[in-house]
Symmetry: C2
Subunit: 156 residues, 2 copies
């Protein structure tokens, strides 16, 4: 009886998340479009965050780029000018893409970001939304790589 109640709570929660769009992509997948989005975002990312071609790479960033990183204002200009300055001071900064996902209009990147060889760095997931061949929105989650570890697997 107790178990039944718990299970129906779970079913309720699941249907709430279903209706909020978490699974909404299911019938709308267009793999060719998703792969084009992935290629666009990965190319942008390598040029911007690894080759540090900030101005040139940002040709695919929309002027009214919606920014969810809590430290950066909306728009293309604040994003580009911040990193142009940052890379002038930190030329060794790199952001290695470990894995990616392309689903609907979103491209997700799992990244190991470091600032020089001795830096344990940060684990990052960046999420970019692509619309008509332009990157229009961005979310991220960033965590410093800690030590020690409870397992031997690294964060990547």
């Amino acid at each position: 009886m107790f178990k039944k109640t718990i299970l129906s709570v779970s079913a309720l929660l699941l249907s709430a998340s279903l209706s909020s769009g978490v699974l909404a992509q299911a019938n709308e997948r267009d793999v060719a479009a998703e792969e084009a989005n992935r290629e666009l975002v990965v190319t942008f990312y390598e040029r911007f965050f690894n080759a540090h071609e900030t101005e040139e790479a940002a040709e695919v960033i929309a002027e009214d780029y919606i920014q969810h990183n809590p430290d950066v204002p909306d728009g293309k200009e604040p994003f580009v000018s911040y990193f142009t300055g940052f890379y002038a001071d930190n030329p060794e900064s790199q952001a290695r893409i470990v894995r990616s996902a392309a689903d609907g209009d979103l491209v997700w990147l799992h990244v190991h970001s470091t600032n020089g060889e001795d830096d344990a760095g940060e684990a990052v997931v960046d999420i970019f939304r692509v619309e008509d061949g332009m990157i229009v929105e961005h979310w991220d989650v960033i965590q410093a790589v800690p030590a020690p570890f409870a397992n031997n697997n690294t964060m990547f």
Copy 2:
């Protein structure tokens, strides 16, 4: 001339990331399998992290679950027993899935995790690898939601 050199550096970096498997999924997408993985992981997540049915939900976690969260040892048992204790002490803890991606054998979840109504909470991305209907590996990145914000968009 300078620009040409920079661009060839970028092309080199891009081909390095291409060959390392970042885009390897391109020709191997099976949307039906990806959606089955998404449904498995979302159902597990809602039951485990929201309904707190830790023992029951974990029936889809492999015994030798590979753990990349730096604070948790490998295996199903340490993961389940940690959260069973945590939810006994924190019954209001919730983890709202904001969006998800399913690509290859991976399911990615962008989550807002809170511990009670007054908690600004944490932004989380969880990545789960699914093999033969079981969740066999997990990565995450976790960041406390800060204040103040440089934009009005929230982290989600």
